[in-house]
């Protein structure tokens, strides 16, 4: 509370405003929203105090993003009341939300890549048909904002040249420039390195100190604990509880989110590595644009071990995964499965790898791993459609495919247990289970897993992690790529860190600290890390920021936008 009163004193103008305005920035009551058969928001009540950071947590599909989209005018609620600053409003579109002082920073940035920062800032907020006056004005305001909130960005830089962290700052500046008093941030740290995330939190703290209200949507409980004043938990479209952050802890929040007690770490025994099942030698991969993404990497994965590839999204992991799974031809180097070199040519290389016993859980299940407009049983055979088990010759045996699908549903507890349901109607976690069930059920020798729990709820994460460990224990070679450091650390038997297309280091998950890995992920090699701890703290941040700003910027963005 002291924070808030201080904030008001510091900003006389906003203090004056809040004398008439009540203490609540936002008040939602009885919000309902349906999408088809899905009741995404059920009678949601939410009160957000002015000048506070309010966290909203919940599993994926709990309805957080829907609720915020309603507040931002992206969707219209089926029913319910919205009060902003005590006044009842109907928000029909985002420009209306902006007029009310609500700004949103989306998970996927809404920026024009080949425009400068300034041009993006004024986009849609131009004062006249001539741009120059707006640009000049924006430049002044920007300098002011940068001072006030530690939001430093070169106004003349092109967006595509900026790091992801800097792009996010542009998004925040955009909202502030439009006079936002209430900022909604949707999963803001998903694409950031640990140090970029720290920077973001410092910015948020400054914003709070200046009297802005911040709504933070996240599924990372640690962030909630670190920055929020209050936290609301959503589950299955309903608001479960709103708590004072200082009175709660991650375990309680996790339990509220899932509705039962959750084990936050993975139980696994020692690995017993066997023969090399998968190996790459001097592996170089180019993307569709001809840009080299993977710059000569070497590693091997043995039977009975999980090799985790850590790294900030966009450092070549996606292209590497595509090449190893046969979807993309390597530019040079060797890909060996069970000692045999595989040459990918043509655009059906994925079939070749499957024939070799390599199963692949892709990074993006909706984009690659599933056909969401197909029913679950049709997805249960995706990639294995030529198998005689699902119909001999040219025909497809629907009964056989449905039997297989039911098998998956049973073994992986896929809900609802209905193989005729379109995959789009399953939750993220269940969609991921549909993919995992398919890829794990065929007894592969090698399992390649990309972002196994992206957008998956905590309850399902536990299950998926156990399944991956079970594959390892069954003697499969598992290659795990994830941007979630916690996930890599708890699952992998060996960690390789990827940065800018190179494997920049190897770490033992048992001994490596998060900051060591964080440094590696930011492109500082093993040797550089061995500075004394005290000195490295500030250093670390600078180096990390600089490295990621300069080097990974372009890659990050292109990796993301792909």
């Amino acid at each position: 509370m002291t924070d808030k009163s201080q904030a008001n004193e510091q900003r006389p103008d906003s203090a004056a405003a809040s004398q008439i305005a009540p203490a609540l920035a936002i008040e939602l009551s009885g919000i309902n929203k349906h999408f088809g058969p899905v009741h995404a928001n059920k009678d949601i009540d939410l009160k957000v105090a002015r000048g506070s950071v309010h966290g909203i947590v919940g599993e994926n599909g709990a309805g957080k993003t829907t609720l915020m989209s309603i507040l931002y005018g992206f969707y219209t609620a089926d029913s319910g009341e919205i009060r902003v600053g005590g006044k009842q409003v109907t928000i029909n579109d985002s420009s209306h939300a902006l007029e009310l002082g609500i700004g949103m920073v989306h998970q996927h940035f809404m920026l024009v890549d080949n425009f400068t920062v300034l041009e993006n800032i004024i986009l849609g907020a131009e004062d006249s048909s001539l741009l120059q006056p707006s640009l000049d004005k924006a430049r002044k305001v920007l300098a002011q904002l940068a001072d006030e909130y530690e939001l430093n960005v070169d106004p003349d830089a092109l967006i595509e040249d900026l790091s992801v962290g800097a792009q996010q700052r542009v998004e925040i500046l955009k909202a502030l420039y439009r006079g936002a008093d209430i900022l909604i941030l949707d999963e803001p740290t998903g694409v950031l390195t640990p140090s970029e995330a720290d920077h973001l939190f410092r910015v948020l703290e400054t914003l709070r100190a200046q009297g802005k209200t911040i709504l933070l949507i996240t599924h990372k409980l640690r962030e909630i604990m670190a920055i929020t004043d209050e936290v609301s938990v959503m589950r299955q479209g309903a608001m479960v509880k709103t708590l004072q952050t200082k009175d709660t802890d991650p375990a309680e929040l996790a339990e509220l989110m899932v509705g039962r007690r959750v084990l936050l770490r993975v139980d696994k025994g020692e690995s017993v590595p066997g023969d090399v099942k998968l190996a790459v030698e001097d592996f170089v991969v180019k993307d569709d644009m001809g840009i080299t993404r993977v710059k000569g990497i070497n590693f091997e994965v043995r039977a009975g071990e999980i090799v985790g590839i850590a790294g900030v999204s966009g450092n070549g992991q996606s292209d590497m995964l595509e090449a190893i799974s046969g979807m993309r031809k390597a530019a040079s180097g060797k890909l060996l499965v069970k000692g045999q070199e595989i040459i990918i040519d043509g655009d059906d290389g994925a079939a070749k790898m499957r024939d070799m016993g390599v199963a692949h859980v892709p990074e993006d299940r909706q984009e690659q791993g599933l056909v969401v407009t197909f029913e679950q049983w049709e997805n249960a055979i995706l990639g294995y459609q030529d198998d005689d088990a699902y119909g001999e010759g040219v025909f497809l045996s629907i009964p056989a495919a449905r039997a297989e699908a039911n098998e998956h549903i049973k073994k992986f507890d896929i809900r609802p247990a209905n193989n005729r349901l379109k995959v789009a109607n399953f939750s993220g976690g269940n969609q991921q289970k549909i993919v995992l069930a398919r890829e794990m059920s065929r007894d592969p020798d090698v399992l390649i897993v990309g972002q196994p729990t992206r957008g998956v709820d905590i309850g399902a994460i536990e299950f998926i992690h156990n399944q991956i460990v079970a594959m390892r224990d069954a003697g499969k070679a598992v290659l795990l790529v994830s941007v979630e450091l916690d996930e890599i650390r708890s699952l992998a038997d060996r960690i390789l860190v990827m940065f800018d297309g190179h494997i920049v280091g190897e770490a033992d998950p048992a001994t490596a600290t998060e900051s060591e890995l964080g440094l590696l992920m930011a492109g500082v090699s093993n040797d550089d890390v061995s500075v004394s701890n005290g000195a490295s703290v500030s250093n670390q941040e600078n180096v990390a920021l600089k490295a990621s700003d300069e080097k990974s910027a372009e890659r990050n963005m292109q990796g993301e936008s792909k």
């Binding site: 079939a351 692949h360 690659q368 995706l382």
Partner: protein, 378 residues
């Protein structure tokens, strides 16, 4: 309070098209009214002309046969994510195959001519579809552009071929020699004189067979699975080891081949010779048929029947009501295409609201259902 509910299947498949059609006819009715004729009378004439007597029905089914082939051609490509609007040209070129076989084998038996002519027509039509498919798969050309261009190429090519190779020297008109014997597709009136002088022929049964085979192809075979996967999500197809380029080429070839069947129906079923522009826009109407039929054989059959009836009934109308010109019939057909194809979603939103309101007012167990579905989504 506004609640939207997704439409039940029956409303989606029957009510929406029905409302769209009604609106099209209502506006057509206004047009008829404006020129001083009675819309009720016009509808009577139209329906009677299309279904009321044997010859009319025969014509309706004959036109519907063309539309089935054209609609299937469109939708097979469409399932692979390709917008093939070149059925017109593909059918046109296929006519060459049909007439050459029929002329060569005119002295045999239609049971010999028909399958071989079908293969020849399918091969040429298929080739005309394959080339845009190849260009799309290997060179990234957009099939909408290439198939349009191929319609023009087909047009010029056929004029050249007919004038320079197929036209008998003694003939003045730009058309091939006529088939007189086995090259003609047997007319159904030879067995049922109920059909009067209508050109309904055995290709009608081929069309029904094509509907069934298309269903089997798309939903009961591995190839169909791959085609649909490719159309629904090319990245997922790539991930699944399905060669995108092969599927595009295969689907475009099959599509062109099916379009080629129009040639048999028209060239060997009606004209008995290859004439200029015998496809007469059937290929283009096939786009509307495919869209209206939701790319499903049953829908295509119904949509083809509707357009067949419009064609035949429209001609009857133009004949019976002199004030209604042929151009006006085209306007009515265009209105149907506009409302069922292009503005298909017109009634969807309002209907969803109405259904939502109905459910809201009559729901006691609704809340439970929502809970169940939401928890499954959660």
């Amino acid at each position: 309070m506004i609640v939207r509910k997704p439409l039940p299947r029956w409303a989606d498949l029957i009510l929406v098209p029905f409302l769209n059609l009604s609106l099209a006819f209502a506006i057509s009715g206004l047009v008829v009214l404006m020129i001083g004729e009675s819309p009720v009378e016009a509808v009577k004439i139209l329906i009677f002309g299309a279904f009321g007597y044997g010859e009319g029905l025969g014509y309706t089914l004959h036109f519907a046969t063309n539309f089935v082939f054209a609609g299937l051609a469109f939708s097979i490509a469409s399932h692979a994510g390709q917008f093939n609007i070149g059925a017109e040209g593909q059918a046109y070129v296929a006519g060459l195959g049909a007439i050459l076989v029929a002329l060569a084998l005119d002295q045999t038996h239609w049971l010999i001519v028909m399958p071989i002519a079908m293969i020849a027509a399918a091969a040429l039509g298929g080739f005309w579809g394959f080339v845009p498919g190849y260009l799309a798969a290997k060179r990234g050309s957009h099939v909408v552009i290439t198939t349009i261009m191929f319609n023009f190429i087909a047009s010029a090519f056929m004029v050249y071929v007919i004038n320079n190779f197929l036209k008998p020297p003694e003939n003045m008109a730009p058309e091939s020699a006529s088939v007189v014997n086995a090259g003609k597709m047997p007319q159904l009136r030879e067995w049922w004189d109920y059909f009067g002088y209508s050109p309904l022929n055995v290709m009608f049964f081929v069309a029904i067979l094509a509907l069934i085979l298309t269903y089997i192809l798309l939903w009961r075979t591995e190839l169909g699975y791959k085609i649909r996967t490719m159309g629904a999500n090319p990245s997922a197809a790539h991930y699944a080891g399905i060669s995108n380029s092969k599927i595009v080429m295969i689907a475009m070839t099959i599509s062109g081949g099916v379009a080629g069947m129009i040639a048999l129906n028209e060239v060997l079923g009606v004209q008995n010779r290859l004439v200029l522009d015998f496809v007469f826009g059937y290929g283009f109407v096939g786009i509307a048929v495919g869209l209206m039929g939701r790319n499903h054989p049953i829908g295509i059959a119904l949509a083809a029947l509707l357009f067949g009836a419009l064609y035949q009934g429209g001609q009857e109308l133009a004949f019976m009501m002199p004030a209604v010109t042929r151009e006006m019939i085209l306007v009515i057909q265009a209105l149907v295409i506009l409302f069922t194809g292009a503005m298909e979603g017109l009634f969807r939103g309002p209907l969803e609201m109405i259904f939502g309101m109905i459910e809201m007012s009559s729901s006691s167990d609704d809340a439970d259902k929502d809970d169940a579905s939401a928890s499954s989504q959660g």
